[in-house]
Amino acid sequence: MADETKPASGDSAGLSNGLVSHGDHKSRRVYQAARSLHSGAVKDLLSLGVCERCIFRLVSVEAFDSDLSSVSASTLRSWLESGDEEAASSEESSCCIVCLGVLQFVFSDAKQTLVRSECGSDYAARVTDLVKEEGHEFDSFGLEVYVPATILENERAVLLYLKGKYNSESWLQSEKISVKDALKVLVLDPLKVSLGAKSDSSSFQIRLTYSKASDEAQGASETTRERKKRKTGMSRLYDHHITWLTLLFDLVAIYISLYNEENGSTSMSENSFEKVYEPCILSIHCNKMPIFFSGRYFKYSRNVSQTRWIIDDERMGEASVEVVHLELIGGNILPACLGDSYKFHAAGREDIDVRMLGSGRPFLIEVQNSRKCPSQQSLTEIEEKINKSEKKLVGVKDLKFIGSQCWAMMREGEAEKQKQYAAIVWIARPVEEKDIDSISSLKELKILQKTPVRVLHRRSPLERERTIHWMKVEKIKGSSHYFLLHLCTQAGTYIKEFVHGDLGRTTPSMGSILGCRAEIIQLDVTDVKMGDS
């Protein structure tokens, strides 16, 4: 054991093994911890090919902490050894049989070049370069690490071996930090410095994925989490078997090693570690949680095409709402965010041949993995660009960035609220004053609507009660059979069916109220009420 003389603060002093200890008190702590490890176990593990930091992890009683990060592997090695061996240089470049180089800060990059770092900050610098390539703007990050499953197996094998030899030792009984967590402990602080950001469970995640070189050949760079996701049915049974088998093998191995110990031989367990170990391939992926923008949209196009009804050789589904024109909105926001993709959510929807006018319909744009957040100024510019576009198919209002309260806002617009419409209606006889009066006097009119024929193929056949809150009739100049009908209804009311009656399946209908046939020529949404607005 080395001389335990503590050097005077700030001065360096020589120690018996010739090493100069740093004035740094962190390194001193590590040095002392290294010297206090069970030397027999350390020697065994070193000769097996376990790296210095893994040895620290497995043999130390003290917690594995970030102080280790600043000590280079070679320094650590010399502190672990009892000082009379110079084997340091020969073993230096071999890959750890447990962590496969992960804790040695060795990895293969995308171009298959081997990258080595001496200490945590050097490693952090290389990771930072790769993160910067992804182009995200951020001031805080969360760190995730994925390692290949074989590391766990390697560790289990080594622990078994240790248990075989040093079963009763106290340091063996404590919980060992995993390779994944150990890496996080080592590099988190240097990364914070190198990236210039805080660390928290934030919306921006940096994922370090280590994978085995042979896995890459199959193109399987799945993370363990992804593999876990695939477990269904038979494969789950299979894994269950694997767990039992592994347990069985472990028991057998323990028995064998115990037997061997009794007979004074541990060579068999040592031989079982003869394998070729390669450093892993590291890939870095950065992901930002989705960001949201809200606004109200207007739809000015009435995409009516007469030919769609005549295609009857196959069952043609009802023309679903084409939000093709609305893609304009997302299509302009996505490049401003430098995102991967976006999703468009609207508070309700209108048919393809119905325009959205008046106050507009609330919508949300969800952008995946945005690299930067556009300013309000640029959002206003996007809004103007869309509104001034030649084709005048869509309009946007109040486009702005919105936080997590967005979903509550959307839900508000869905089921409970009232909607206002304007329809051009034709009736079989001329409109009279008494018609106007009788319609306007109907307040909170309850109607019963059977599922309209046009949606009956995809919705349940039900009878739905709905309320028409109020109606107003405006005569149209130059026409006695047509009038403009303004109405305010409960959400979920089928307006077209209310006007023409849907073969009598909606009662009462405009036709039944006026006592003649009624048809709807045109429908527009004029207001989507949301809460107070």
Partner: protein, 210 residues
């Protein structure tokens, strides 16, 4: 003259508020006017008598003398595949004095008016072939069987007809429809279609016979 600055000020502000309100009003008015002009932007071409909802949304087919002479029915097929079945205007039931007086859905093995189809997948719908009996309409003179004409699932029958059979006389092509059937497979419909005739053909045929 005693100047009372406070009152003067308040008068000033009220005047300002008033004019602000007026500006707001005229803004709202402007918006409303804009909206109205948008709403009425396409009315230049309003036809005197527009096509009915049925004509716009459905394709009309007819079948004549189905299983028996004079049994003419219509099949209105929607773009989504659903077929509305009813009596064509030349059905012989209409020729009887007093028209149709009664309808009975209890034909064949079950009462069609009590079926309860539920859910998007239309559970419990009765499977029908083209010659499955749908109902029986009776006049003072005789009664006639109405059949499905379409192979598929029977989604709905018009049970309003039970209480108001006169709907068949007044508007057999709208409120007097008899049933809605959903063909189960596109192939079924294509085969069915072969025995049906279009509106033009129907008109021509009936003109000749009249």
């Amino acid at each position: 003259m005693a100047e009372n600055p406070e009152t003067d000020d308040t008068i000033e502000t009220t005047k300002q508020n008033q004019s602000e309100e007026e500006v707001e009003h005229s803004d709202e008015q402007k918006q409303e006017d804009e909206l109205r002009s948008l709403l009425l932007s396409d009315i230049g071409d309003l036809p005197l008598s527009p096509p009915s909802a049925t004509q716009v949304n459905f394709v009309s087919y007819f079948i004549t003398d189905f299983t028996k002479p004079g049994h003419d029915q219509y099949i209105y097929r929607h773009a989504n595949g659903l077929c509305v079945i009813g009596l064509a205007p030349t059905h012989i039931a209409f020729k009887d004095e007093g028209g149709i007086t009664n309808i009975d859905f209890n034909v064949g093995k079950s009462d069609r008016s009590v079926l309860k189809v539920s859910g998007k997948r239309k559970k419990n719908a009765m499977r029908s072939e083209s010659n499955t009996a749908l109902c029986k309409v009776s006049t003072a003179k005789d009664s006639y069987i109405v059949r499905c004409c379409v192979k598929g699932s029977l989604l709905e029958v018009n049970e309003r007809l039970i209480k108001q059979p006169q709907l068949l006389n007044s508007s057999a092509d709208r409120e007097g429809y008899i049933a809605i059937i959903m063909p189960t497979r596109p192939a079924d419909w294509t085969k069915n279609k072969e025995s049906l005739i279009t509106l033009e053909e129907y008109k021509a045929k009936k003109e000749v016979s009249l």
